[in-house]
């Protein structure tokens, strides 16, 4: 329970930072989406139950104040956690580069999934390809830059609270 609370605190901090950056970016017509960073660490290191609680909490943080039905982000984030946990035993998840790659791929999937839901709001979504593409590129680049810092922050926060994620063996090999 303590681990879930500490983890949620780090997610809340990230949400605050991303929302402030997006606030400052509005005159440039660019918005960052960091969904992958909210679910990456927990999906790779936590048990399923804890990771899903984290995904739902992060999803609810994203859902409020948007015109999307409440729970949309939560469900999409939970789906990402299930997919990552399904393949994590094949990955060396303690390798920083692998973790960042997983988060980048997860972010891409989440961005496209949320876009697929949000596209129903638009009268003519065809003219929006360039905006969606530029938002995605900006998000992925920023994510690649900040992911190592944020993952280290999450690991350190859990360590300070005395609830660090259990160290597990590397990738399992199949015959």
């Amino acid at each position: 329970m303590r681990r879930t609370i500490v983890f949620f605190f780090t997610q809340f901090l990230l949400w605050g930072l991303v929302s402030q950056v997006n606030h400052e970016l509005t005159p440039w017509g660019i918005a960052l989406f960091m969904g992958g960073l909210f679910v990456g660490f927990s999906a790779l290191h936590f048990e399923r139950r804890e990771a899903l609680i984290g995904a739902f909490a992060a999803g609810f943080l994203h859902d409020v104040g948007t015109p999307l039905p409440f729970g949309t982000h939560a469900v999409v984030f939970a789906t990402a956690v299930i997919f990552i946990q399904h393949v994590r035993h094949r990955l060396n998840r303690h390798e920083g580069l692998i973790t960042v790659m997983v988060i980048l791929i997860a972010n891409l999937g989440l961005f496209l999934a949320v876009s697929a839901v949000a596209v129903r709001l638009l009268p003519d979504a065809g003219g929006l390809t360039s905006r969606v593409f530029s938002d995605l590129i900006a998000s992925q680049l920023t994510l690649a830059l900040v992911a190592p810092w944020f993952l280290a922050l999450q690991a350190k926060a859990l360590e300070i609270a005395g609830v660090a994620a259990p160290a597990e063996p590397g990738p399992r090999s199949y015959p």
């Binding site: 949400w15 509005t26 017509g29 104040g65 015109p67 876009s115 009268p123 003519d124």
Partner: protein
């Protein structure tokens, strides 16, 4: 083998159960969760906007005394012109009231102006929203029109304890009844696709076929007053392109919105005054 395939598909079974469970969660529970998470976030946005205000204050403190005297002089001139406008408005208001009584026509709805600071801007490809630092504590109601010095900002979409969320006119989720300036025929305005690195845009439908507009000679559109949400005559934007719709009965086009919409720090909410 079947045991292994079940083991492999178990996470997706759990996911399916979670999704089904979420769909069955009562709306009341979802609503309480939504409000709880919003009120959890609100202090962060509000505190950040107060910090920005403080930054602005200290940056203004660095101005020289000469700048302050010049600003005070400009402000005095503006105040003098506004005083004259206020007197004219009061005269017109009395005239309208006299004519309403004479012709026995119902009084137009009144609004109370509630200025509010912007706590957070959330603009992305799909929606454009603002969080303002006033909510139920100032009597703000859902659907209230929001304006600024450049015209219409949008409409209040959600009201919380001490914040409110505003849907911008550039958001595709907002539709307004409008007219061309100097014309009484109604047309429909909707927020459109907002390009990256460029000003927000909107779309107009049902424009009369005799109307024309271009980048060189744009046409201004204003609120029509129909629908009862926005008062008539508020500036929305300029039509920069018009073309005949597929059915040939009307024209559709593109609207250029005020670029200051992306940098708003203060807006005014027009709270409808109740008849009692």
């Amino acid at each position: 083998m079947p045991h292994r395939s079940f083991h492999a598909s178990r996470p997706f079974l759990i996911l399916g159960l979670l999704l089904a469970g979420w769909l069955l969660v009562p709306t009341l529970v979802k609503r309480v969760l939504g409000i709880s998470f919003f009120e959890l976030q609100a202090p962060v946005s509000v505190a950040a906007s107060h910090v920005r205000d403080l930054q602005d204050f200290w940056s203004l403190r660095t101005r020289t005394r000469h700048d302050l005297i010049a600003a005070g002089r400009d402000l005095a001139r503006l105040n003098a012109s506004y005083e004259v406008t206020l007197q004219q408005t009061e005269t017109l208001r009395r005239e309208v009231a006299r004519l309403e009584a004479l012709l026995r026509i119902p009084t137009l709805p009144g609004y109370r102006s509630e200025p509010a600071r912007v706590a957070r801007r959330d603009f992305n490809a799909w929606w454009q929203r603002l969080t303002i630092r006033k909510g139920r504590n100032y009597g703000i109601t859902v659907g209230s029109p929001v304006i600024f010095s450049g015209g219409v900002v949008g409409k209040v979409a959600e009201v919380h304890a001490y914040t409110a969320v505003v849907d911008l006119i550039s958001s595709p989720t907002l539709r307004i009844a409008a007219t061309l300036e100097g014309d009484s025929r109604p047309l429909s305005f909707q927020g459109g696709n907002n390009p990256a690195f460029g000003p927000a845009r909107g779309i107009v439908d049902y424009v009369p076929t005799d109307a024309s507009a271009s980048e060189v000679m744009p046409r201004r559109i204003v609120t029509s007053g129909l629908g009862g949400v926005f008062p008539a005559g508020l500036f929305i934007g300029e039509i920069t392109r018009l073309e005949t719709s597929t059915d040939g009965l009307f024209k559709t086009g593109e609207v250029r919105l005020d670029s200051r919409l992306a940098e708003l720090t203060e807006v005014t909410v027009l709270v409808p005054e109740r008849a009692d």
